[in-house]
Structures are given as C-alpha cells and as structure tokens.
Amino acid sequence: MTASLATLSLPNPVLTASGCAAAGRELHQFFDVAALGAVVTKSIMTRPRSGRATPRMAETPSGMLNSIGLQGPGIDSFIENDLAWLAAHGARTVVSIAGGHTDEYVEITRKLNGNAAVSMLEVNISCPNVESRGQVFACDVHASSRVIGAVRRAADPALPVFAKLSPDVTDITLIARACADAGADGFSLINTLLGMVIDTDTMAPALGGVTGGLSGPAIRPVALRCVWQVHQKLPSYPIIGMGGIRCGLDALQFILAGASAVSVGTAVFGDPSAPVRVLAELEAALDARGFASLAGAVGYAHRAPEHRLGPDAPQAAAS
C-alpha cells in the first residue's frame, strides 16, 4: 500500500508522530520499526536542551497535555546515535527539526544534508520565535514562510520538506498557503492545541510549563477539520494527518479527508504497538471498501455524491 509524499514513496502510509516515538529504539522492542512507512523522530534542535520542569503531563478527558519543552541531545548527538541506529535497523526516517530562529533551522538542515538515512524533513514551526518575543512561528504567515523558505533553500533538493502546522490559528489555510508559496512540499497536520489544567488540590496550574499541548482522541475532530480545509484549498499538496488516531478507521477518516499518510502519536502511550496495529486495520478497512490503491482513497470524502462512482469507486459506494 504505497504512500506517496511528494517525491518520497513509502511502502505504507503509517508513521509515528514526532515526540511520541523518541528515535524508534524503544518501540523496536515491541515491533520492527522498519515495518512502518517511516519513523518520525522527536523534534531536534542544534544544541542539547534540558526541556521544561516537571510536571510535564496531565491526563485530560480522552487526551493529555504535555509540556516537555523539546528535551533532546542536539543535532550532532542525534545524527551520530539516533539516526545511525535507525539506518542500521532499516527504518525510513523523517527528521523533525525545530529552532528558535530561522538560522537554527538552516543549521540543522545543513547538518542533515547528504545523510542517506534521512527520507524527509518535517519542520516543526510550533516553536517560539526568539526574535519575535516568543511568538510561535506557525501562528504567523510571515514567520512560517520565512522558516520554510530558508529550510527549503538549504535542504538537499531531493529531500521533501513538510511544514508541520499548529491548529491554534484563525485560518490554517492561510498559513499553509504561505508555506506552500515558500516551497513546502507538503504538510503535517496537526500539532497539539494549547491547553491547560489546574490542579484543584494545589490550586495552581498542573504543568510546570503552566500551559501545554493537548493531544489524543479529544482533538481528532479538530485535526480532521484542518486536514479537510488544507486539502480543499491546496489539493495537490500531500498531507501527513495526525491527531488522536487510535485505530484503522480513525486513520481512514484522515485519508478520506485528504491525508496521504498518517502519524500515530499519543496512542502509542496506551498501546506501544499501535502504529503497526493501525496499519493492519487501515489496510483491512481500505480493502473492505474496495479501494485498489491508497491514492484512490485520498480525499475521497470531498467528492460530491455523484462523483463517488467511477474507476476508483469502492464497491460499497457503487452498490
């Protein structure tokens, strides 16, 4: 079930989500990481980062908040240890990169150029822009466009560059359009929603970081709406859909809304082998609906009823 993401072709459309699979090693205890479409690694920055103070998570109804703060070893250690491990284990790797200013994104990109272990760059622009008093890049068309343009120019031309967008904006299609114009080859939708919980015992915010990112099935309707909107406005741009995917039918919703692949994030915390299970269930679901190829299902829900018959029409729809 080949998934096609710009110039990249993957054996299947199920990926991990950045920050929910570290660099694959721990999940490899539960399933072969090479069996996935790709491993998307935790967003990496130039230097080592401590991350935020604990508590870093709070469970919420059908979701969770995290305020990890991009704890990580820095790009050099990442390349030497994590990327090498992933390559040695035959995994295709999407490297998620992050930064506090445009130059940092470019610096990381350059370090990754020419590394055969990298299949794609996912640019996490849900980071505070240190040059703009901490405003998140992804919340501003200009900042988003500047980072994506710079990464696209710096990156090996053969390497697809996907912009990972935040749902915390008035119109996600405007940000997507700006990124597309700046050279993004596709989109990863969505990052977490900003949320918070107050601990009613301490009567203070439950997270060390006060606010945190909301993920899990709770946000799935919002994620699906974002995929739907961006696919509608920019139908030729491939999308990696994510946000609360727990089973094959959840993944199918994203495909039908316009995603060419999906990432499984928070679900891994409850079920470490969720990504391979979702893959098997998605394959069965597509099959049951008579789709000969994944491509035939991508964006299918956008078709007007009268266009649901035809070469790609699943039997279910034709009957």
Binding site: S50, R52, M64, F269
Partner: protein, 286 residues
C-alpha cells in the same frame, strides 16, 4: 533494556491487604523477565474509556515456574479514577499489561549486608529484592513505615522472609512512633550495611539518602514520577540526576530509573529547572 512485552493478563486473584489490594495476574511474558525493581504499566478504564494512559505499579513478585507459573503480583492503592477502576476488578477479568519495565535494583556483586526501607506500598518491590539478596547470601534488615497502621504494607511477609522487621508509623498506631529514618541509623549499624535500598514517597527517599550518606554508603531508591508512556519515548517522567561526568541532566525515570542512586538525584531541584542542567541554557522562551 528490560525486554518488555504487552500481554492480556487474566486476573487470577484479588485480595485486600490493609488499605491496599493485591493483584495476581497471569502474565508469563512479564514474569519471565522480572527482576526486583521492575514495574508494570496497566491499561485502565476498559473499552471506550476517556483515560488514555497506563498506570504504573511496582512488581511485588513474579512466579516464572511452579504452581502459579507465569503470574505476577502488584499492589494497588486507591488514588484517582484509574486506580479506582482497578479496585473494582475481580478475578477472571483481564487486564492489559506492559512489562517488565524500568531498570531494576542493582545487586551487589557478592554478599553484602543491606537495609531495605519501604514506605507505604513502597515495601512491595522490596520483598522480592529481599529474597534475591538473601539468596545471594546478603544479610538483610528491613524497615517498613507508613503514616498510620492501615497504610503499612508487607510487614508480615517481610517478617516471614527475613525473620525480623522494624515497623514505624508517624502517628504511633503501630510499631515505633516516628519515621523510618529515625530507626535507619541503628539498622545500618546493626547489620553493618554496605547499601540501603528504599521505595516510598519522594521526601522519604531523600531523607533515606541523607542518612545513607552520613554513613558513607549508597542508597538505591525507586522513585515515582508521573509517566505518560512508561517505555521511554515521551520524556514526561524526568528528574534531575548528576551523571558520572558531574553534569546533571533530566533522566527518564521509566527507563533510566525508577531506581537511582540517591546521591545522584538532585532532590531539591525536582520540579524545577536548575540553571546548571545540561541544556538549560537553551530554554529561553520555552
């Protein structure tokens, strides 16, 4: 790594023990890899639950062979909705387990006298540890404490296992009126301990570490930090720990712990971000 597996485990028995409930479940894969200090992560809430995350419980024992072959045991204290759900389960139902997880208690290379200190349900992982130490020829002393008598766990089993146990309660409702650390120095001296092992609330672990240090011995303590994944992928369960190089880092208590050398943990900085942590300088605007 601990070679964890995910298993659907039938509940073999549920037994009330003081304020706690002891689960015995059939999980041969978990049992196979068990070492004292390991924990399991248990799915809660059943189908269609709004609770996404597993709950962690220290393993109280595992029986890889014999009559109850393939069972593991853990102790559950009522806390919030997840443990409340667990406490409503009964024998014959199944639980979803991932384990064994974490880095177990390090064992001395040869026989070495040890004091084991358990606070509340923290005694649970110390019982299999005591057995392992005794089997390796190490003399063992055990201190079991709690705020009040009903919160004690394992004092009878400890006594049966080791022959003697010192009990403390904060309110004096059982054993010595006081804290585990009030009796720890005598215990260390009594057995001429080379190491202390502890599991219990964070302030207790810190205090145990302090006592051990004054006796110039190590304390290996099992901490309890809120965990989202339990398997090392999410970075929620960290605490600041000094490394061999003298530099401190946020380490994951689910894989690099839950057992740490008490002297390496920067207790005063748990829950904050000390400036000198590796990578703290990169945290502007985050």
């Amino acid at each position: 790594m601990s070679n964890p597996v995910q298993e659907t485990a039938e509940i073999f028995a549920v037994a009330r023990v003081g304020e706690y409930v002891q689960f015995t479940v059939v999980a041969p894969g978990v049992a196979a890899g068990f070492l004292p200090g390991h924990f399991v992560a248990v799915g809660v809430g059943g189908e269609n639950t709004s609770m996404l995350l597993r709950r962690a419980f220290a393993l109280y024992g595992a029986t890889p062979s014999g009559q109850f072959a393939g069972t593991v045991q853990f102790i559950v204290a009522a806390h919030g909705p997840g443990t409340r759900w667990l406490l409503q389960r009964s024998a014959g139902e199944t639980l979803d387990l991932v384990g064994p997880l974490g880095t177990p208690f390090p064992m001395p290379s040869g026989p070495a006298p040890a004091v084991l200190v358990g606070g509340g349900y923290g005694t649970a992982p110390l019982i299999p540890l005591a057995n392992a130490l005794l089997a390796a020829g190490s003399p063992v002393e055990m201190i079991v404490g709690a705020s009040t008598a009903s919160r004690l766990f394992g004092e009878l089993v400890a006594k049966r296992t080791i022959g003697a146990v010192t009990v403390t309660t904060d309110d004096g409702s059982a054993g010595v009126h006081g804290r585990v650390t009030d009796v720890l120095p005598d215990a260390i001296r009594g057995v001429n301990a080379e190491v202390v092992y502890a599991c219990g609330p964070m302030p207790m672990l810190r205090a145990v570490g302090d006592v051990a240090r004054t006796h110039a011995i190590h304390a290996q303590v099992a901490v309890e930090e809120a965990m989202a994944c339990g398997i090392g992928v999410c970075m929620t369960c960290v605490l600041p720990v000094r490394g061999d190089d003298g530099a401190s880092r946020f380490l994951r208590s689910c894989v690099e712990g839950p057992v740490f050398d008490a002297d390496r943990v920067r207790w005063a900085d748990v829950g904050s971000l000390p400036d000198d942590l590796v990578g703290a300088d990169a945290m502007a605007w985050h």
